[in-house]
């Protein structure tokens, strides 16, 4: 049971980081970034490159992953968000453009690095902790601690700084934001940079488990979407709760039913949940408050 719990929390941490990025982009920009999975895969390669060509120190590898994540996010913002915003049929077109970017990016990675998965060295060391008789690897400990710290920082930033205020205004009322002098482009770019950091970080944290490959971003993207959906797009607190929920469901399904049922059970639950609460956990939170 402890093993399942730890695995649930680890999964929840990674999904939380990915989903927080998706949710932030949706809330602030109204942009559903389906190129996020590609950014994830590319960050993995950035970290891999840094580990093989520069140094295997954890800081260097993290920096490599984050730098590529930010680079891709900024590129997506310049190529897709800026040219398309305020144009007709934005929701559908931005999604299709994101998918096109994913198609381009994934195949560029495939062309450069080939289809074989690359292992990332154990950058966080080979030590382990023992909790209630269950060994917990260094990577797991670092993942949980880092994810919790990042989400905490993000929540505080959103609720106390001017940047957070701007993001929240954009989420609630884009026209109002413009009236009070919030530059959507500037804040949008800042959001994309933050999301680039998040995706780079999660790619490096997940790489020791899943390896680095051109398709590595697909499953995190799908799970991130699921978490963001259940959480209610645009709400960070909802996302955090949903990530824990999804992590627990996934870990216990894999343990007691078998891994081929994970996505089915997850989807059954989500379909039921969304039909009952069409705006996710955040919608439920709002109802409680009201």
């Amino acid at each position: 049971v402890i093993g399942v719990l730890i695995s649930a929390v680890t999964l929840a941490s990674i999904y939380m980081l990915v989903a927080a990025g998706l949710s932030l982009q949706w809330g602030g920009l109204g942009f559903l970034n389906l190129a996020y999975g590609f950014a994830f895969a590319a960050s993995g390669y950035g970290a891999y490159w840094a580990a093989t060509n520069v140094s295997e120190s954890a800081w260097v590898v993290l920096l490599g992953g984050i730098a590529v994540g930010v680079l891709i996010s900024v590129a997506v913002c310049l190529v897709i968000v800026y040219p398309l915003e305020n144009r007709p049929n934005w929701p559908m077109r931005s999604v299709v453009a994101g998918l096109a970017a994913a198609l381009i990016g994934t195949n560029v990675l495939l062309g450069i690095f080939g289809p074989d998965p690359k292992p990332l060295p154990a950058v966080f060391g080979a030590w382990s902790l023992t909790i209630a008789g269950t060994p917990v690897s260094a990577n797991t400990v670092v993942t949980i601690v880092v994810a919790a710290a990042v989400i905490a920082v993000l929540l505080v930033t959103l609720s106390t700084t001017r940047f957070g205020l701007a993001v929240r205004t954009l989420t609630q009322n884009p026209e109002g934001a413009e009236l009070v002098g919030i530059n959507r482009r500037t804040v949008g770019m800042q959001i994309m940079v933050v999301c680039g950091v998040l995706v780079g970080l999660s790619a490096v944290l997940l790489a020791p488990i899943t390896f680095v490959s051109p398709q590595a971003g697909l499953l995190p993207l799908i799970k991130g979407i699921v978490v963001a959906l259940v959480g209610g797009l645009g709400s960070l607190r909802g996302t955090a709760i949903a990530a824990l929920l999804v992590g627990v469901v996934e870990a216990s399904t894999a343990q007691y039913l078998g891994s081929q049922y994970v996505l089915i059970v997850l989807f059954g639950l989500i379909a039921l949940f969304l039909v009952a609460r069409p705006r996710g956990v955040a919608g439920a939170l709002e109802e409680i408050r009201a």
Binding site: A101, V108, I225
Partner: protein, 315 residues
Amino acid sequence: VPKSAWGVLGLVALAALIPLSFSSSYVLGICSIICMYSAINLMWALIIGTAGLPSFATMAVVGVAGYAAARISLTFSAGWPAMLITGAAVGAAGGLLIALPAIRLRGVYFMLLTLGLVQMCASFISQSDVFGRQQGLYGTASIIPESITGISAVRLSFYAAAALLVLVLLCYLVVDGGSLGRRLRVARENEPFAQALGINMVRDRLVVFVVSSAVMGLIGGFYAAFYHSISPSLLAFDLGLLLLAMVVLGGMESPFGIIGATTLVVVVDAWLVEIGAMRLVLVGIVMLGVTLVAQGGIGGIAGRLGQWVSAGEDQ
């Protein structure tokens, strides 16, 4: 005579001529793929174009129906008609199962749910013994009688695929051009207005979703019978993306634009096969370009040219 009737006649003539002009089984194989992909794309266009429902569930429906048809054929040694019927029935049931909860959701949630659904089906099928895991299912019934072999078998398969495309195209034209298509477009452009007209949006969307899913299921069953096999690659994320690129390039609302774009992408894909992954980069760049610059795709450009020509005639 409506303009689209000429298009259908032209397509039939083209399909009849192709096997007479090419005798390579490779070329005919590619032409058959174009027919099957075009058929799928037309039904997809009915959902995302005409009805404006952002659904990505297409390949899940085609794939699951194809697998069901292959399983029926292997377990009960049923022939291809049974495979087509199974495919259509599973497609309709699947469509209803997806649409009933999903139509209640608003745009972006609908989109994400259907996107995830494809991954869910792909991951289940590739891990399930009943569906042959990564290898898929082999040795199902064929659409070609065993007495026909060699190039005549390839010709006959192509004619079957072309006949499928023509039937699906007629289905598209009937739904899109009829009153159902008109009601769906009104609801897509302006929901309150549609409501004021007394259009039952939920019912209409449900109908178009189930009908097109049934046809997609039929295509899935045909696909399995065409290749005598089916594999998880039919549900791969990349194939779905490629088909979406065709629909987007074709202009979502123009049936002949979509068939043209499908032909273009499949031919480019086969022609540049030596340059490997980079050919998909090319497709992606064109897809991105069309999305950024023009909304109508090939069909839209052709339509504008047509308007320009007829404007010239008026003067």
